[in-house]
């Protein structure tokens, strides 16, 4: 599977087809048993997750993965510090880096978390947690963003809010999104890949994919 810079791709497929596993391989959380991963032209197959993050990869997880016992501002702070070498500094207070703190304040304001900055993440509503996770994923201006079922469990209103958020970044960010909600996928994505039992069985624009025989078989039975 190949993606172009600036593309918005949706990854669809029935349960168990391997979508999250694919994400884990791209992200580096799992090692593939065969094949290679290339990120931004470089072979990243043996790179640990943190090195891929530094080359411009960012992701969210199917089950919200934040720092539940830390506050919202502390969560964002960690996301903002991640690309900076100061993350190893043992001798100065973390709040004493004005550039970092300014970025944290900006993010808090942009994503409308300023009011709940001191709340522990585990006390946030599910929708807010999902939003925060995306905020943190975008914090260090990634080149490729992986979103694993970002709208899962959200109400209709929260979903349309989130779609605006996902559509907001410009072409400097490529987005690969796993979605179960086909309407969301079609709204956001230029192209769609369909995964079934670990293989890409169809790829193309929405219309192309809809009329694909194999896809119909997967979703409506008969294979």
């Amino acid at each position: 599977m190949t993606m172009q810079a600036g593309e918005r791709r949706a990854l669809l497929g029935p349960n168990g087809s391997g979508k999250t596993t694919l994400f884990n391989m791209i992200g580096g959380q799992t090692k593939p048993t065969s094949g290679k991963i290339f990120l931004f032209g470089n072979n990243a197959t043996d790179d640990p997750p943190h090195r891929r993050a530094h080359s411009g990869l960012s992701r969210t997880f199917q089950i919200t993965s934040l720092f539940p016992n830390l506050s919202v501002v502390e969560n964002i702070h960690l996301a903002v510090m991640a690309p900076s070498p100061i993350r190893y500094a043992p001798h100065r207070a973390a709040e004493s880096y004005p550039g970092i703190m300014r970025e944290v304040e900006e993010l808090l304001a942009d994503w409308r978390f300023a009011g709940s900055r001191e709340r522990l993440v585990r006390d946030l509503s599910y929708g807010d947690q999902r939003k925060l996770e995306i905020a943190m994923a975008l914090a260090h201006r990634p080149r490729l963003l992986l979103l694993d079922e970002p709208t899962a469990g959200l109400s209709a209103a929260e979903t349309s809010d989130l779609i605006e958020v996902i559509k907001a970044p410009g072409p400097e960010v490529s987005i690969l999104m796993i979605e179960h909600d086909v309407d969301v996928a079609l709204d956001v994505a230029d192209r769609i890949s369909i995964l079934d039992r670990g293989r890409i069985v169809a790829e193309g624009t929405a219309i192309e994919v809809r009329s694909n025989q194999a896809v119909q078989a997967i979703y409506f039975g008969g294979s």
């Binding site: 993965s65 720092f67 539940p68 016992n69 190893y88 973390a94 880096y97 522990l120």
Partner: protein, 308 residues
């Protein structure tokens, strides 16, 4: 508020040290040394989320190193302290590579086994460590001020108090620094940290080495205080007790390990005077802390309002 509490605590300790007869001072010094040891373990256990059951190995290496330096090279406190702290750090650097290949229960067991290896080395290597007799007759250290000589318990008390305060100050700085924030993030969700771009292994390793250095430093204070050291200092019993001190006081808090260490030390000394059953009481304490106050006394006393 916190600063006031800390000042009061230090003042109380100082008063106790000055006013009480020498025997009690000895107990206080024991407590202060245990506090330094517990604070170093807290960095691993409370802040990074690495439960080490073999932390006494680094305490012991610091004690033996300083003891050997003092017996064979120089009486200078500074050289001895440097050697001991370095010994702890070096052993931590070596053992850390192996130990950090594991997580959770396996990490507990591997640190336990590594600690027992250190104990076995101390026990077997008669030529260097004196075997199960240990090192004896280690002289009082010389801090290089001709007026001041540390063979008085009062002066040693001041030294260990300063050492503890310095250790706490360093820990506070570290915990509030970007590095310290990273450790807290790793404890809460290490997968997320990796995905954000943090080299989780490296941060853990650095924390491991720092904590081992701290334990080595505590070992230095110990050996100069007692004048001798034996292999038991490296045994899992010592490691487990340090863990109890941290948990009893409150893991992940600055003062928790200090409170836990002082409590256990004072209690242990007191109990040993009146009963033969300190082991039983200690055992019940372990059980009690886990079932009743797993977050420790400090967090029970200082009810947090909101986050941290």
């Amino acid at each position: 508020m916190r600063a006031v509490g800390a000042a009061i605590a230090i003042a109380l300790v100082v008063i106790a040290g000055v006013a009480l007869p020498p025997y009690y001072e000895e107990v206080l010094v024991d407590g202060l040394i245990n506090a330094v040891f517990a604070v170093s373990l807290n960095l691993l256990l409370g802040y990074t989320g690495l439960p080490s059951l073999g932390h006494a190995a680094y305490f012991a290496s610091g004690a033996y190193a300083a003891g050997l330096v003092s017996l064979h090279v120089t009486h200078s406190f500074w050289i001895g302290a440097l050697s001991g702290t370095a010994a702890g750090a070096i052993l931590g650097a070596i053992f850390g590579v192996v130990a950090l290949r594991t997580k959770g229960a396996y990490f507990l067991m591997i640190t336990l086994a590594l600690g027992q290896i250190a104990w076995a080395v101390a026990y077997s290597w008669r030529d260097v460590t004196g075997g199960d007799d240990g090192l004896r007759g280690i002289p009082a250290p010389d801090i290089g001020l001709s007026i001041v000589h540390l063979d008085g318990p009062r002066l040693y008390f001041v030294l260990t108090l300063i050492a503890l305060v310095a250790t706490l100050a360093a820990t506070r700085l570290l915990v509030g620094s970007p590095f310290g924030r990273t450790l807290r993030g790793i404890k809460d969700n290490s997968v997320r940290m990796g995905a954000l771009g943090y080299n989780v292994w490296l941060h853990r390793y650095l924390a491991f080495v720092m904590a081992s250095a701290g334990a080595g430093f505590a070992g230095v204070l110990f050996v100069y205080h007692k004048g001798f050291v034996s292999p038991d200092v490296a045994h899992v019993v010592t490691s487990a007790q340090a863990m109890l001190m941290v948990i009893l006081g409150g893991a992940g808090t600055l003062w928790g390990p200090v409170a836990g260490a002082m409590t256990i030390t004072v209690l242990g000394n007191f109990a040993s005077t009146y009963t033969l059953h300190w082991t039983l009481i200690l055992g019940l304490l372990y059980i009690g802390v886990v079932l009743i106050a797993p977050t420790g006394i400090i967090s029970v006393l200082a009810r947090p309002k909101g986050s941290r």
